[in-house]
């Protein structure tokens, strides 16, 4: 229905056609659709999230066995918020609770990758199938990546001396009424939306331009099947782009429409969310460069393999 309204607006009211009409139509349609989905999904996720917090996750991960711990940590990563500014207390707090380093990394990989902004954008732009594939492979990368790091015995590369706590953590209880939860979710959604709506606007704007003006062969030649290094380049390009995920995803959608392969797009988006340069800089205060490099390499390789696998299968 929304499509018809926008079509009517651009064709009949504004009398636009050709490239300009297509670009304007696309811009209005996509921006409003994505804004709507962002607000809805962020609200739902932040409402669910009021039942958990990082302290709760820590108490639940304590004392879990290796592989089970990795899986649980990756799953918790979907629901808990992540801010790279909290990476240090999180990392050290997990170690303090004697949670193995590999399990900690599973959480640290999954949490930013499966963040609500990325999920909402994916859902709005690509539909539920691609979103499910993204989350599924995201979890896999977090579980496998964390498991491997856990096997490498890299505890000695934690530069801070953390005294492991004695005994078990107490169960963390969150007592909130439903009204308080809704209010919290509303405030959180409002804050996030205020931060990112402009990036969505810019992302869709540039996307609309590409959609209307740049010919398909151009994109297909550089990011399509014709370029065997596309996945690799996409992953490297994704690393410095974390804070702009909201602006980048609308662009990726347009690029796939213009012939960029889906695996390449998937790898690129995973690299944008999972490998963040600012997070690495923050972690450098407490972790040896070797450990951070290992973390980036393992996750990077995983993502690249997924991209090629996808391009090959589809």
């Amino acid at each position: 229905m929304w499509k018809e309204i926008v079509d009517y607006l651009t064709n009949n009211l504004l009398q636009l056609d050709g490239h300009l009409g297509e670009a304007v139509n696309f811009f209005i349609y996509d921006t409003v659709k994505i804004w709507f989905l962002l607000i809805t999904i962020i609200f739902v996720v932040s409402y669910l999230r009021t039942h958990f917090n990082t302290e709760y996750v820590r108490a639940h991960l304590q004392g879990k066995s290796q592989l089970y711990g990795n899986i649980l940590a990756a799953l918790f990563g979907i629901i808990t918020p992540f801010c790279s500014c909290s990476a240090i207390p999180l990392f050290l707090g997990f170690i303090q609770a004697r949670i193995p380093i590999g399990v900690t990394f599973s959480f640290l990989i999954s949490s930013p990758m499966n963040n609500e902004i990325a999920i909402a954008l994916l859902f709005g732009l690509f539909g539920w199938k691609i979103t499910a594939v993204y989350i599924g492979f995201g979890l896999l990368v977090a579980i496998v990546g964390g498991f491997i790091i856990g096997r490498l015995g890299m505890e000695k590369y934690i530069l801070m001396d953390v005294k492991p706590m004695e005994g078990e953590l107490e169960e963390v209880k969150i007592n909130l009424t439903n009204k308080e939860r809704i209010k919290e979710a509303y405030l959180y959604t409002r804050d996030i939306f205020k931060d990112i709506y402009i990036y969505v606007l810019i992302g869709v704007g540039v996307g609309a331009f590409i959609h209307g003006y740049i010919p398909t062969d151009f994109i297909a030649k550089y990011a399509g099947a014709g370029n065997p290094f596309a996945v690799l380049i996409a992953v490297v390009m994704g690393i410095p782009m974390y804070s702009n995920a909201a602006g980048i995803m609308p662009l990726v959608e347009v690029l796939t429409g213009k012939g960029m392969l889906l695996g390449t797009a998937l790898s690129f988006m995973m690299a944008v969310t999972a490998l963040s340069l600012p997070e690495a800089m923050i972690l450098k205060k407490i972790l040896h460069v070797k450990l951070i490099a290992t973390f980036f390499t393992i996750v990077g390789v995983d993502i690249i393999v997924i991209g090629y696998l996808f391009n090959f299968l589809l």
């Binding site: 917090n53 990082t54 302290e55 820590r58 918020p81 801010c83 500014c85 909290s86 240090i88 207390p89 999180l90 050290l92 707090g93 997990f94 303090q96 801070m160 953390v162 953590l169 405030l187 804050d191």
Partner: protein, 76 residues
């Protein structure tokens, strides 16, 4: 009464400090305010998501930027 803000300098932590200052001014009470940025001290409070808000040695909030009225409800 003593309020401590736990945070390692993230933007939310600085924002929370400003909120708490405003709440203290509004409450009209004499309250001691301390910013704790030593990570070891933060961990002693069992807080893993910053900013944390501690009132008289008790953790009342973690990982959230509270509003002035929320902070006021804690200190009232």
């Amino acid at each position: 009464m003593k309020i401590e803000i736990l945070g390692t300098g993230c933007s939310k932590c600085t924002a929370l400090e400003a909120v708490v200052k405003e709440a203290i001014a509004k409450s009209g009470k004499f309250i001691q305010l301390e910013k704790v940025d030593d990570i070891m001290k933060i961990m002693e409070y069992q807080v893993v998501s910053t900013p944390g808000l501690v009132i008289d040695g008790k953790v009342v909030s973690t990982g959230k930027l509270l509003s002035v009225s929320e902070v006021l409800s804690f200190i009232a």
